[in-house]
Symmetry: C2
Subunit: 473 residues, 2 copies
């Protein structure tokens, strides 16, 4: 297959040097290790077509890979060396950026930070960002329907992707890049490819929506009695205007961990509050109310009504940054306290206040000595549900024996609450067995049938999303 | 099959009286006539499950139907009487309306106007409306990914549907009603069912997004030299804030027809302008700039820059309504001028100004004596492309012989421009052959494979969307 492809690709497109392949055979957290005899790095959609056609002829599976920042082993090849890595990183052109319309056509290998910067330079904003922005690529973000901290206002990638170009398993090119605002010509393949984790087609480019650049932002910190009060406050903001883009919640205990973890940090508001909120609003134009004024107006009324105990609005960019530094340190701060398992879960937003309290209590009761807590995107119904090991536990034994039980317990709670075991990160290989265990049989059958229909030879990212035996469902 | 279902359904759920079935065997424009030996009208999702299971056992196809207001024969049964009608009209409950969160769970049979009214009563707004709002149902709107006049700001149904409940061909129930803001558990079946025209599952309910009610609106009329100037003006509005929700364009000739057609109407602005624009902006809260102020600010600058020749802002609700009455009469006014074929087409927004001019000229040149013109949703890249027959032509002969040639010619132009032959109305049976003719083979193969995967027995709305022989592609 490699010999066949050699004349069709440039020299740099075929990598067989073990040292050069090795970093891409494991995920960045080093939890999954695979093996690939070669890594293919095409420079164009036509080259991807040639590769997919050859793969189909030779029945050699392809594992599409962008920045390799999957949290679920979604881009790591199988261990048996049966598949080739297909890196999209060299397809990194921004093909067009329409500064009039506010839309951009970016190839799969464009790095998120590059996309963010390019939008800003053009006077626009690509309103999606996340921790891995320096490595994550557009293709990976599309294929995992990535989220981030601005989902509340702008949605996940699904809300920002206007169209997708992809090479399907039969070698045909799906061209959704014209990205029509209205188009009712049958099933929406663009939407099907978003979040498909490279199992239905190889995403080679996407048309993305830009939004007006931020003219001003306001950042507030508030203390409330419980998540129910927090949600009531969020609803007030949403009725007051569609400008709140982050609404993050954390318990007092987690804030304490962050304050201990971040040097020279101080609590944004005085006194003890069981729950804390970080709220950011932005304005794009002079015609809109200043974000700080909106925050002040709504928070003042909420304090007067007893919904909020105390609140402060960042008086400077430095203070706003300090608030966000606390928020961004939560995962590290929690990890620094000892062994723990995290869960990327969501439930319906309206069910989240109760879930946060009840699920933590149920988890603590079921696993004595552990401590469960949730923090994160209340406005999205999406929290990082964190369960800390009992003090003094043997780390390796706990991870190997207790953690899986805890995870299944948490997943059961989430499923019973109508929620999801994967809010942001996808299924990959890490959660395929849990998906097979918890998804309704009809849904599993539908996913399996769609996979078989669009990739009948099983050459696209095998072993991801659908567990090998899930077709038996 | 009927005997088997009788004990499972209530008496009113099985209709075999010819007179009662007849109105539902033809579409409302009386272009398509079919035959169904019975009409089934379940009252619950469980009853739909029973019906679908029986249909699968007996290999009897089902044609789902809501308000029967399809523009493409999408809900008309086959002529051979091989299928049963499945009316969702009795499933017309609004199951829940969360006035805090601004979301509603509505059954398939809820009429759009009822939904609009219920939202308003709760202090919210369901921002989708169209001519058939008194008969069109939520299930049909979901299944055809309906549009309307506010797509520019809020998108089509796809942007308003947060989740779908549907009975799949195997009798399993897809429950997307929890409508999680973030959920990455594999292929998005909700998105796949939206716009699937009842061919992949029977939509029984949907969770819909509401938006804040309108606090104020502003309506303007402007005259411009050409569609290019119109688009430049739209871009200025979009940069100024996300509050313009209608941006409609019409040529002077079409305005003249409307003025002749609507009693006691007068031109909104004086003088001759080749192209006219109707623009509406709204504000939901006191914190936003008044819509009329925004319109005035942007239009005054555009006039100063020579982009707009003249403009006026409606000084009263009565005047605003008068502007809209002109717009809403365009289809009738054009039809009153004689035989014509209309086309529901879209191209990329940025390509629309040129397309409107070039396509009309090409059509006039190719079919001497006809007159082509486009009007409609410039902001969506979606116009009604109207081709009027030559004066004095024999009506029946022209519709039978010339109109199909014109339609194929227009569809070729649209396809060459990267556009769609169905912007709003879907494919149904009317456009299935054209879809098969114009869609890329890879796309047709993918659609056909998905259909076969999810409805292997072919019991869901056969003969719609995919022409019977398109599987040969």
């Amino acid at each position: 297959m490699i010999d066949e492809l050699a004349p069709l690709l440039d020299a740099a497109a075929i990598v067989t040097d073990r040292d050069m392949i090795a970093p891409w055979e494991r995920d960045w957290r080093r939890r999954f290790h695979g093996h690939a005899p070669a890594l293919l790095a095409p420079r164009s959609t036509d080259q991807v077509v040639a590769i997919v056609r050859a793969a189909a002829r030779h029945r050699v599976p392809l594992v599409a890979q962008g920045g390799n920042s999957s949290m679920v082993g979604g881009a790591t090849p199988p261990v048996d060396g049966s598949a080739l890595l297909l890196s999209l990183r060299r397809m990194n052109a921004i093909r067009t950026l329409d500064a009039e319309a506010g839309r951009v056509v970016a190839e799969a290998g464009v790095i998120l930070q590059t996309m963010n910067d390019a939008a800003l330079v053009a006077g626009w904003r690509f309103p999606l960002t996340l921790g891995a922005r320096g490595t994550a690529t557009i293709g990976g973000l599309v294929s995992t329907n990535a989220g981030g901290t601005q989902v509340l206002r702008f949605g996940t990638m699904r809300g920002l992707v206007l169209g997708v170009e992809a090479v399907m398993a039969d070698g045909s090119v799906h061209d959704g890049l014209p990205a029509l605002a209205k188009d009712n010509r049958g099933y929406n393949l663009d939407q099907l490819l978003i979040g498909a984790e490279g199992t239905l087609g190889i995403v080679t480019a996407a048309t993305l929506k830009l939004v007006p650049a931020i003219a001003a932002r306001g950042v507030a910190w508030a203390g409330v009695a419980d998540p129910t009060a927090a949600l009531a406050l969020l609803r007030r903001f949403q009725r007051a205007g569609d400008t709140v883009e982050s609404f993050e919640i954390l318990p007092a205990d987690t804030l304490a961990a962050a304050l201990a973890h971040v040097p020279d940090s101080r609590a944004p508001i005085a006194g003890h509050h069981p729950w804390h909120l970080l709220i950011e609003a932005t304005a794009a134009s002079a015609g809109q109310e200043a974000p700080a004024a909106l925050l002040e107006r709504v928070l003042a009324a909420a304090i007067a009504d007893g919904l909020v105990a105390d609140a402060t609005i960042a008086a400077s960019e430095a203070q706003a940054t300090a608030f966000w530094t606390l928020r961004d340190s939560l995962s590290d701060a929690e990890r620094a306290r000892g062994p723990a398992v995290q869960h990327d879960i969501a439930v319906p937003v309206s069910a989240m206040p109760r879930f946060m309290v009840d699920a933590a209590a149920a988890c603590d009761a079921r696993f004595p000595g552990t401590h469960a807590s949730g923090f994160g995107h209340l406005g999205d119904g999406n929290i990082h549900f964190h369960v800390r090991a009992p003090a003094g536990v043997d780390r390796d034994r706990w991870y190997a024996e207790d953690a899986p039980d805890i995870t299944r317990f948490v997943h059961d709670l989430v499923t019973d609450a109508g929620g999801t075991i994967s809010a942001e990160h996808g299924i990959g290989q890490m959660k395929a067995a849990e998906l097979a265990r918890l998804a309704p049989p009809g849904r599993l059958a539908a996913l399996t049938a769609i996979k078989a229909a669009l990739d009948p030879l099983g050459i696209l990212n095998p072993g991801k999303l659908l567990a090998p035996n899930s077709s038996a469902a």
